[in-house]
C-alpha cells in the first residue's frame, strides 16, 4: 500500500472512514443521537457536522426504535445510512427494527430489496458506566440470520471494516469497544477495506490458539507476550466478524496448535465462546484437540459500578495467562 500510514486512534479511524464514505457516495449519511455539534457520545463523529452539514450528520430525537426504523426505511429506498447508537445497550430499545425488519426484509420479500444499513454500537465495560451502559450484546445480534455482525479490534480494522460495511448490501452491525476508542495504531490514508467474514491471525504460535474478539484481542496478545518467556507459544486469532464466522481460519489454527481457548468480554454462557467451541467440536479439528476447550468470558452478573468489581467481571491479562498456562501444561 502506497498510502501514507499514520498513527490514529480507533475513534479517529472510524471518523475518517465515515468521512471517506460520505465523500465517495452522496447516498451515505450519518444519523444518531447527539452526533452533530455535540460530536457523538464518544466524540466519534466529532466535527463532521461542520464539514458535511446537519442534513448528512443528522441528529435524531432520543428515539432508538424509530431512528433504527428510519435508517432501515432509508436504506431500503436507496440511501446508505450509518446509524450510531449512544451505547450498545440501547439496541434493546431498537430490537424490533433490527431483528424483525432489517434482518428479514430481504428474505420476506423474496430478494426484492436489500437493506444496506450500517449500525454502530459503542459497547463494553471499563468506563464505570455500570450495568445499563456497559454490556456486550453482539451475540444477541449474531444469532439473527440476515444480519452481519463485526467487532474490529484495531484502528486499522475499524476503518477498513467500516468502509466494507458501507459497501455491503446487507445490514452490518458494528460493535466498537469503548475502551478501544483511544487506542492508537497505524492507519493508512485513503480508501481501503478489510473484508467482513474474515478472521485475522494476530500472532502465530504452536502451543495454543486463543480466539479473541474486540478488546480481548489486545489482552490475549499481552498474555501471549508474557507466556513466551515461559516457552509457551500462543497463536492469537482475532475473530473480527462473528456472523458470518470465519470457521476455516479457526479450524486451521486449532489443527496446528491442538488447543483452543476463547476469550471474550460478553457473558460467558451461550455466547461466542460456546459457538466457536461447538464449531470446532463439530469440525475436522476435533481429532486434533489435545486438551479440553476453555472459555474465558464475562461473569454471570450485570456489570458492576465499583471499578475493582467491574474489572473482575471480565477477563483480564493475568487470568488469561493462568488459564493458558494451565491448559498448555496439562493442569486442566
Amino acid at each position: 500500500m502506497d498510502a501514507m500510514v499514520r498513527e490514529l486512534s480507533y475513534a479517529q479511524a472510524i471518523q475518517e472512514a465515515m468521512a471517506i464514505a460520505m465523500d465517495m457516495d452522496e447516498r451515505v449519511f450519518l444519523m444518531g443521537e447527539d452526533i452533530g455539534v455535540y460530536g457523538g457520545a464518544f466524540q466519534v463523529t466529532g466535527d463532521l457536522v461542520d464539514r458535511y452539514g446537519a442534513d448528512r450528520v443528522l441528529d435524531t430525537p432520543i428515539s432508538e426504535l424509530g431512528g433504527a426504523g428510519v435508517a432501515v426505511g432509508a436504506a431500503v429506498t436507496g440511501m446508505r445510512p450509518i446509524f450510531e447508537f449512544q451505547f450498545s445497550d440501547f439496541a434493546t430499545l431498537a430490537m424490533e427494527q433490527i431483528v424483525n425488519q432489517a434482518a428479514k426484509m430481504r428474505f420476506m420479500l423474496g430478494g426484492e430489496v436489500s437493506v444496506p444499513v450500517v449500525m454502530r454500537f459503542p459497547a463494553g465495560s471499563g468506563t464505570g458506566a455500570a450495568a445499563q451502559h456497559s454490556q456486550s450484546l453482539e451475540a444477541w445480534l449474531g444469532h439473527v440470520p440476515g444480519l452481519k455482525v463485526i467487532q474490529p479490534a484495531t484502528p486499522y480494522d475499524a476503518k477498513g471494516m467500516l468502509l466494507a460495511a458501507v459497501a455491503d448490501p446487507d445490514p452490518v452491525m458494528i460493535f466498537e469497544h469503548k475502551l478501544l476508542y483511544k487506542a492508537k495504531g497505524p492507519v493508512p490514508e485513503g480508501y481501503y477495506t478489510v473484508p467482513i467474514g474474515k478472521a485475522d491471525i494476530r500472532r502465530e504460535g504452536r502451543d495454543l490458539t486463543i480466539v479473541a474478539t474486540s478488546i480481548m484481542v489486545q489482552k490475549a496478545l499481552d498474555a501471549a507476550a508474557a507466556l513466551e518467556a515461559e516457552g509457551i507459544d500462543v497463536e492469537v486469532v482475532d475473530l473480527r466478524t462473528i456472523r458470518p464466522m470465519d470457521k476455516q481460519t479457526v479450524i486451521d489454527s486449532v489443527k496446528k496448535t491442538s488447543r483452543l481457548m476463547c476469550v471474550y468480554e460478553a457473558v460467558k454462557t451461550l455466547g461466542i465462546g460456546a459457538e466457536v467451541s461447538a464449531m470446532i467440536a463439530e469440525s475436522e479439528a476435533f481429532d486434533y484437540l489435545d486438551a479440553p476447550i476453555v472459555r474465558l468470558g464475562g461473569a454471570e452478573t450485570p456489570i458492576p459500578y465499583n471499578p475493582e468489581l467491574e474489572k473482575a467481571t471480565v477477563p483480564q491479562v493475568p487470568g488469561i495467562i493462568v488459564a493458558a498456562r494451565d491448559l498448555v501444561k496439562g493442569v486442566r
Partner: protein
C-alpha cells in the same frame, strides 16, 4: 349447482377437524348466516355459518369424526334447485392440507428411519474406531494418533490430568518403540464395555475368507454376545500377564460329605410333589472353597488398576455358565459368607436365568474371581482366561479315580486337577500358590466349609 358446505380451516395448524354438533338437519331450510354446525379444535369451539340459503342436503359430515379440511360435509340447494340422489363432486381439493409435511422441518418417515450412518456428520468410519478405548481418557488428538500409528490406546499410560492420554504420550510410545500393530477392527456395536485393551488381529476378514473355497462355508453374522466375548477375551489375553498354577485335590471326603448333606436335606412341598430344599453339587462346594480361600489369603482377592491395587472385602465368585451361542459368568456375591445350600440354590437360579438370557447386568458384572468347570466333559486339566476385573480364575477338571501314592503305597483316590490362572500384576507366584493350597485344604477337609 348447489352450494357446497365444507369443513373450513379455522386454526393455523389444522389439517383435520371434528364437527362437535350440527344445528341443522337433513332437509331443513337454512338461511345464509345461520349457524350450521360447531367445530371443536383443541383450542376452542367455533360456530360455522351457512354459506347460502336453501335446503340442507347430503349431510355427510358426521359428528365426532375427523374430517379433512376442505372436505364437503353437506350441500345447500337453493329454492327450486333440483335435488338428485347423488351428491355433487367437490370442485376443489385441498392441496396444502393434503400435504401434512408442508413446512415441516422433520423429514419424511422413510428418511428418518434411514440407517444411522446415513445421518450427516456421522461417518461410517466412526463405527470402526477401537471400541475398547471407549472408557479410556484420551484427547481426540491422542486417539487419532494412536489409531493412525496402530497403537492400542489402553496400553499407553496417560500423563495428562486424570490419567488422560495426550499427544505427548503417543509420541513417547512411538519413540519408545511401542509395538505398532494394526488395531483390532472391532464390531460396530459393542455393548457397554468398561474394558480397556483392544487387541490385534493378524488377518483381515478378506484374508481369512480367501483361504477357503467360495461356497465351502456359511457366514453367520456375530451377535452381540459373540462380539462381547471376542472383545473381552482378546482384551484379557493381550493386556493381562497370565500365569498358571496346577494342583491335584482329593475329593473322597468332599463327596462323602456331599452325600450326607444331600440325604439329610429336608423336604418341601412343590407343584411336582415333595422335593429336597437343596441338592448340593461338587461345583457348589468348589465355589464355597474358592471364596473361603480368598478370605484366608486376602491379598489374592484383588483387582488391578493402573493407579492402585483394589483389595476386595468380599469374595464374589463368578461361575462360567455355558449357554447357547456363548457363555456368561453370573456372580455369587459374598460367597464366603453364604451357606452351601444358599450358594447351591442361588446358582441354580442364576444358571437357569442365564440360559434364558434373563440376567440383569448387575448379576454378571464385577466379581472378584471366577470358577470355570469342565469336569462334566471329563476334561482333566485346562487353563482359563482371566475375566477382568478379576485377578484370578480357577479352571476345574473332572474328578476321577487315580492311583495315588501315599506313605509309599499306591492307593486309589478320587482326584480333581485344578489350574489357577492369575494376573501377575496383582497376584505373584507365591501368593497364587498360597491361595491354591488354601483351596486344596478346604476341598480335602470339607468340614471346614460348614463352620
Amino acid at each position: 349447482m348447489p352450494t357446497e358446505v365444507i369443513l373450513p380451516k379455522v386454526d393455523m395448524d389444522m389439517a383435520t377437524g371434528q364437527i362437535s354438533r350440527w344445528f341443522a338437519t337433513e332437509g331443513q331450510q337454512v338461511k345464509k348466516g345461520d349457524v350450521l354446525f360447531e367445530i371443536e379444535t383443541d383450542k376452542a369451539a367455533m360456530e360455522i355459518d351457512a354459506p347460502a340459503s336453501g335446503i340442507l342436503r347430503d349431510v355427510t359430515g358426521k359428528e365426532g369424526v375427523d374430517i379433512a379440511v376442505g372436505a364437503p360435509v353437506a350441500w345447500i340447494y337453493a329454492d327450486g334447485e333440483v335435488y338428485g340422489d347423488k351428491a355433487p363432486i367437490s370442485p376443489l381439493v385441498g392441496e396444502m392440507s393434503a400435504r401434512p409435511t408442508e413446512g415441516d422441518a422433520v423429514p419424511p418417515t422413510s428418511q428418518r428411519e434411514a440407517s444411522p450412518s446415513a445421518l450427516p456428520g456421522i461417518s461410517p468410519a466412526r463405527g470402526e474406531i477401537d471400541p475398547s478405548s471407549a472408557g479410556r481418557r484420551a484427547t481426540p488428538l491422542a486417539r487419532r494418533l494412536a489409531r493412525e500409528a496402530g497403537l492400542i490406546l489402553s496400553a499407553i499410560s496417560g500423563t495428562g490430568p486424570h490419567g488422560r492420554v495426550v499427544k505427548a504420550d503417543i509420541d513417547a510410545a512411538v519413540a519408545g518403540g511401542a509395538k505398532a500393530e494394526p488395531a483390532a477392527k472391532a464390531p460396530a456395536e459393542v455393548p457397554t464395555s468398561t474394558a480397556s485393551a483392544p487387541a490385534v488381529k493378524a488377518m483381515s476378514d478378506d484374508q481369512v475368507l480367501k483361504l477357503f473355497e467360495a461356497g465351502s462355508y456359511e457366514l453367520v453374522p456375530h451377535d452381540n454376545m459373540r462380539k462381547t466375548i471376542a472383545c473381552r477375551l482378546v482384551e484379557a489375553k493381550s493386556t493381562i500377564p497370565h500365569f498358571y498354577l496346577t494342583l491335584d485335590c482329593e475329593l473322597d471326603a468332599l463327596l462323602a460329605l456331599r452325600s450326607q448333606l444331600n440325604v439329610a436335606a429336608p423336604m418341601k412341598k412343590t407343584d411336582k410333589g415333595d422335593a429336597p430344599v437343596y441338592k448340593l453339587s461338587v461345583n457348589d462346594m468348589v465355589i464355597k472353597a474358592m471364596a473361603m480361600a480368598l478370605k484366608a489369603v486376602p491379598d489374592a482377592n484383588a483387582s488391578w488398576t493402573e493407579s492402585a491395587m483394589v483389595k476386595h472385602r468380599h469374595a464374589d465368585v463368578g461361575v462360567a455358565v455355558s449357554i447357547p451361542g456363548g457363555l456368561i459368568t453370573p456372580i455369587i456375591r459374598k460367597a464366603d459368607e453364604k451357606t452351601l445350600s444358599t450358594i447351591s440354590n442361588e446358582m441354580k437360579d442364576l444358571a437357569s436365568r442365564a440360559r434364558s438370557r434373563k440376567l440383569k447386568p448387575e448379576e454378571y458384572q464385577g466379581g472378584t474371581t471366577a470358577v470355570s468347570n469342565l469336569g462334566m466333559f471329563s476334561i482333566k486339566d485346562f487353563a482359563a482366561v482371566i475375566n477382568p476385573p478379576h485377578a484370578t480364575i480357577l479352571a476345574v477338571g473332572a474328578g476321577e479315580e487315580r492311583a495315588v501314592v501315599k506313605n509309599g503305597e499306591i492307593k486309589i483316590a478320587t482326584v480333581m486337577s485344578v489350574t489357577l490362572s492369575t494376573d501377575h500384576r496383582a497376584v505373584d507366584g507365591a501368593l497364587g500358590a498360597e491361595l491354591l493350597v488354601a483351596f486344596k485344604n478346604l476341598i480335602e477337609n470339607p468340614m471346614g466349609m460348614l463352620v
